[in-house]
Symmetry: D2
Subunit: 340 residues, 4 copies
């Protein structure tokens, strides 16, 4: 039985870790932290998670003195770096669900997150936690930067084509639609029920959302040359789920079956990525799971290919992908506690 | 063309007044106030109401120096009383959508709203703005206390039976379900999309919600003796609409048709109250209208009668009922601008 | 007072016509037809529309013998053409909310709707009912083909740029999201609540949806050369509303303000098309109205422009646009009964 | 590893069994049946359940020739009885998720389900599968009638008070609100998205819903005397979840804490029933779990007590309760595969 800790356990990703880990019988949650709920029992915030009813929130400071096998950091950008350094120095493995360890280049981090990285020397050691593309590195790593939700869905769909150099370089357009849990627990005008319900609204369109930097890092790396994306996220009236409709151009005209074959070939042995051959993916398929469902369509008499990707923004887009990474880092079967 | 003003026009009831009054061709909105948005154009808050794009918010102070025919006060309890006095002194008619003019007895107001009434001498002049029961008084009045949303739905269903002395006195139970706009525009944990969506939650159950005081005043008045209600509101995952399922006991066993006949007899000539003979009412019937739909069912071998009432909490439960009152007070046809 | 008739009044577009026309005080609904509900009172189907409670459904056959000023045909493709001919022969003006009179070329109609057009000789007389682009023709016409919902939203956004020859010809991509009322009243697996709620699903992606033919007819006409569109509709978990995110390439790089200025210049005097300068449009702005809200964004260092368009699929995308056309054809003020 | 079969695996309860059993590592699904999808791979219907992608639907006839340890029958009332007899004769344990084995008296079954029971002699052997009240009987039984969703939620809340003889006999009123999955997979006007969304509608109010018979059987048995219930279900715009607000009268006035203490005392050691002391239960707590959350409120100066009960209609109200019963019948830990 391995021990794990969760730093920042009152947000949606921390809550999802708690919920899913109940089913994982090889780890136990040793501590959970919350600065504002320190010393309160979890039951006051999570009456629906009776498995933890005798547990109390502690502070991150208290947690940093405890010894566990692995910690999940569920913190805003800029708050993980120093804590990660402390845990690593005590031989505690670290999975950061925030943005601090997703970038290789501290300048790019600074460009998108508007602050200096506190521990740039750690960036080389950190692995981008997309198991389907970095599995072996993750297994050997002590620190993983868990991908953002939008990048997870978009990259899983685009990388197989990019890696085979099938795409012309003039267009990758991602039109993404995310459930509201992706906007976090803060009560704002944006997350007010009346403003979300019976609505759909785009935000940060073009090349302004922070996840653009992360996507372009990985697209560029895979393509072997500077690669850009136009990205328009939309807020969707659902609690969970993230759907991306992605428009790319292939160098030569392809059939739908050709595209699906490439996807199938890339992911045939993957337990968590599934290619939808009949019809298209939808959010409901992926909600409350660690699965990514991928589909494709072509446009007659054109080189435009449409890719579809459905994940759960809190699942494969955050917490269950983090558990998948944990399984790899701690030597468990990769699917342990995650199959549905 | 009569001139009207709206005090507190950035909440849901003020917005609904603005929206519906676009269709009313005998009044024009002369001013709208907002303390925090003073001097800003309405277009910044209401881009979807182009009819008002050249209008600016003013302060309530500025408004109180202007002359119009009627003002709607859309303010929290305690904030209307003094303003109402000012407008009345200038011969401006007043409809208060808040709670300040719904009570006859300042002690009862104090009991439920936990503050002294600022202008208790005005309470006698104010009429409870339920047109189906106080139409003639409303026509002659300069000040109307527009009923709360829950009382509107519950009273319209219960009063016909109570007035005919058909009810035994040991039980009026109202189980109400309200859309989220009833909780107001404030962004709180309660109104966060993720907490409302795919959920249903009761609140302030028993005899604790402030609308209990208002309902009991009117029930008692109609029955001619002290009458109490058990009231349990629930927050419903819809934007608009309010449904009440009401359990009462009749002195003698009645058939469903008997109950429906009494309702039909009470409301036959009412343009905005309709009795549903086949099936039951539902929220969707009433949403975005000034209608109240009433239905009934009986329980075999028992004196228990179930009443159903569906309204729109922002419509008949607030703003369109206020416009119905305005039509009566200004001498317009009662249905003007309100039919759908 | 003009008399109108509605053929096929039990679908969503017929119901919406009934509902909105209650507020229009210069026309009265003379008859409504339904084959399956013939001889039944409207109250059995529309208890929430008390204005019509004394009306009965008649058959289309019976209707064709009556004389009114204008009929709305709310019928599936292929069922309007012959009826339209009958009404026209009796000097009854016709607005077809279906697809039969949207096309100029019967071959294109056949290609997309898979049947011969029954009255091809009428196509020349019919006007495409997009008032912002064909206003004067509509005023003079006796027969109007009311546009499809997707085409209305997409065309209003794209035509201003196309008309000014600003677009390069290699890409118009429309990623559209529609409310479920767009799928019609038929109870199918697709419209089952459980399959729609908490979901988003694309369908008929690429160039397969029937509205592609209609959009390409109008795009080509405006551009003056063959113009194609890639079109991916998605089913959205809302009842009403239609949002299109449209990706185009300009010949030269443009600023967001430049694009907005072109839109503003195209629609400045239009009562029902509004350009959103701050932020972006959203479905909620347009729901339950005849408005179209248009917005734009640009992608830095690229010629890609993102256009946004929000309408109500049953409003500007169908029934209220039909009433706008009726106002033009019958000589009423264009906005009569439609402002909100 | 025990083998199980699922008869009727294309409805919601069968699908939920499949989904949850993926996490249960002591049973394997040996066969699943569907008459209309016989010989088709599960992947065509359940692309989102990749664990079963190599499995094919067989017919119930084929299944009845196979040998497993336990079968779940997910069939409409009247279709389980004969099949159950066949499986029992082969020493296969049976859990019926339908209504055929919930009643002790075939006359009462006939009264509510309007047909003769096919195997009345089996009723004595069947145990009502509410583990918190019949645990020891379930362990020893070969056939269990899994309770209906409404009865599960209502009984768990009412039985502790009834058993202690605290209730006066003149009123048990249950006002229940159910998610749409409770209405089944059939596409009807009732389950059409547009009719459910932004709506709430009561149905079968009073004493007409079939679950009344089942509730009254258990209430009467527990009370030791004829006990009736007034029951009004409402269709709620959520996919999953069932909330009951229950009004009872106690013989003597009680405090809220007294009521909660009785609940706590009844369920202290129960893994799946939890008493909410602060605030009230809500649907979201229980959705996607096997938990029941119970709360209470009292009405000042009255003997009326309000009970709250929240479950997932497909979870504790159907499939996960069936798995809880399976765990008991097969000798596994009761919570195996079910904790969240």
């Amino acid at each position: 039985m391995k021990k794990i800790g969760i730093i920042g356990a009152t947000g949606y990703t921390g809550e999802e870790l708690l919920k899913v880990l109940v089913q994982h019988d090889s780890v136990e949650v040793d501590f959970v932290t919350s600065e504002k709920d320190k010393d309160r029992p979890l039951a006051t915030i999570y009456p629906h998670l009776p498995a933890y009813k005798n547990k109390f929130f502690i502070s991150a400071q208290q947690a940093s003195e405890l010894s566990v096998d692995l910690v999940f950091l569920c913190l805003p950008a800029g708050e993980s770096a120093n804590l990660a350094e402390i845990f690593l120095s005590k031989n505690v493995k670290v999975i950061d669900l925030g943005a601090d360890f997703r970038f290789k280049d501290p300048e790019i981090y600074k460009k998108w997150y508007n602050m200096d990285h506190a521990t740039p020397e750690l960036l080389d050691k950190a692995v981008y936690g997309l198991p389907e593309w970095y599995r072996e590195d993750i297994k050997k790593s002590n620190i993983v930067g868990n991908p953002g939700c939008y990048p997870t869905g978009v990259l899983l769909a685009v990388l197989p084509l990019l890696k085979k150099h099938l795409l012309s370089d003039d267009m990758i357009i991602a039109d993404s639609k995310s459930g509201v849990s992706g906007a976090g627990k803060a009560a704002t005008s944006t997350t007010h029920y009346v403003n979300v319900n019976e609505n759909l609204s785009p935000y940060k369109a073009g090349r302004t959302h922070r996840h653009v930097g992360e996507m372009e890092q990985e697209l560029t790396k895979c393509a072997g040359r500077e690669t850009r994306i136009s990205f328009t996220p939309h807020l969707l009236p659902v609690t969970r789920g993230l759907f991306s409709t992605i428009y790319v151009k292939t160098k030569q005209q392809k059939t739908k079956q050709h595209i699906l074959d490439i996807m199938e070939s890339a992911y045939r042995d993957e337990p968590f990525v599934h290619v939808v051959e009949e019809g298209y993916p939808s959010i409901k398929m992926a909600a409350n799971t660690n699965y990514c469902f991928i589909g494709a369509e072509t446009v007659p008499d054109s080189n435009t290919v449409i890719l579809f990707s459905a994940i759960d923004n809190l699942g494969k887009g955050a917490s269950t992908q983090a558990i998948q990474n944990m399984n790899l880092m701690l030597g468990f079967p990769e699917t342990k506690g995650l199959l549905t």
